[in-house]
């Protein structure tokens, strides 16, 4: 017997030879368990992320087997480290290049709030330039904390509607950041 754990099936109606549930739940389940990460690492939080990706903590267990270094093929942008104001347009460009659906995790104090770098040259949290789904505290956070952040994002992904990108709230949010939405 293999001891591979499968993702829990969403609630639905089961009978002999069929299983019925809503498309939202199936797609949410698939998305949540195949989040392709795009690491945007600028400092020590990135080193913690390397440990998270490594064999011991093994981020791949959560379906994030393939770290993508192209924003076009990534779902989950992980911003790890101090973002200088000069880096802000670059980060925003990377976010714009990602295809929907896309999510963002701010890993560590610097990405979340500027951290100890309360100074004219450092962005005081990446949520000044792009929307953020999950914030991971810590300076730097341990790999367990990063995994916890990713699991919380999985919950977000599972429970949001299939067409988040078409909701007026989401469009308004992106427009607040000056990011163009399709249609």
């Amino acid at each position: 017997m293999s001891n591979i754990k499968l993702a829990e099936a969403p609630s639905g109606v089961e009978g002999s030879g069929f299983f019925a549930t809503s498309l939202d739940k199936v797609i949410g389940l698939a998305r949540a368990n195949s989040l392709w990460p795009l690491p945007f690492a600028t400092s020590c939080c990135g080193i913690e992320f390397m440990a998270t990706m490594g064999a011991h903590y093994d981020l791949a267990r959560f379906g994030a087997e393939r770290p993508s270094f192209s924003p076009r093929q990534a779902d989950m942008l992980l911003v790890m480290g101090t973002i200088a104001k000069k880096m802000a347009p670059v980060l925003k460009q990377v976010y714009i290049q990602m295809a929907e659906p896309r999510w963002v995790i701010a890993v560590g104090a610097c990405a979340s709030s500027g951290g100890i770098f309360d100074t004219y040259s450092v962005l005081q949290g990446i949520d000044e330039v792009i929307p953020v789904d999950v914030y991971v505290p810590g300076c730097p956070p341990r790999p367990e904390a990063i995994l916890d952040g990713i699991m919380r994002l999985q919950e977000v992904v599972k429970n949001e509607s299939l067409n988040r990108r078409n909701t007026p709230e989401y469009k308004a949010l992106l427009e607040k950041y000056g990011i163009r939405t399709n249609g």
Binding site: K85, K86, G114, T119, Y120, S121
Partner: protein
């Protein structure tokens, strides 16, 4: 070759420039002299091209803001003479309201980025610089952050109230 003595250096400078170059200090053996912006290029050229002194290496150009002084910006040049194993620091105090000083790019191409950096942080206009624009800070920054009148902290941050920090 033996190390160039500071006394020799001072006497060579006094002999060439007289009152225009004044010795300020010698902290930790680093000779520091002052001159004015009319003569700074001449002084640097003499230090660089003199056969004995040979201060051929421009270590750095930077500045200091002294808000309490009448001439509130000091532009600082650090020179290094490899053959004599000697260093010298040249300071020029200039007006802080509209600071202007001739560019040292006529002597060292390496002065280009140093002067851009000094412009970026102190707003000093290096006259004759080929491309004086910001180098490290974001292009749309409106202040010169190393001047004392501008706050160190990011003014956009709204959640940081002074009373959290006992101020």
């Amino acid at each position: 070759m033996a190390r160039l003595e500071n006394t020799v250096l001072v006497s060579r400078l006094q002999e060439r420039f007289g009152e225009v170059v004044a010795k300020l200090d010698e902290p930790y053996g680093l000779l520091t002299v002052e001159t004015d912006k009319e003569h700074i290029i001449e002084v640097l050229e003499f230090l660089k091209k003199d056969d004995e002194l040979q201060f051929v290496y421009l270590t750095d150009i930077t500045a200091v803001h002294y808000p309490e002084l009448e001439r509130s910006i000091a532009v600082v040049y650090h020179l290094h003479s490899f053959v004599n194993n000697a260093r010298i620091r040249v300071k020029v105090y200039i007006n802080g309201v509209n600071p202007q000083i001739p560019s040292a790019t006529v002597l060292w191409n390496g002065a280009n980025w140093m002067e851009r950096e000094t412009y970026d942080f102190f707003g000093i206009d290096f006259e004759g610089h080929p491309d004086l624009r910001r180098i490290l800070n974001v292009d749309d920054m409106e202040v010169f952050p190393m001047r004392k009148e501008y706050p160190l902290e990011d003014p956009n941050r709204v959640d940081k109230k002074d009373y959290f920090f006992g101020r």
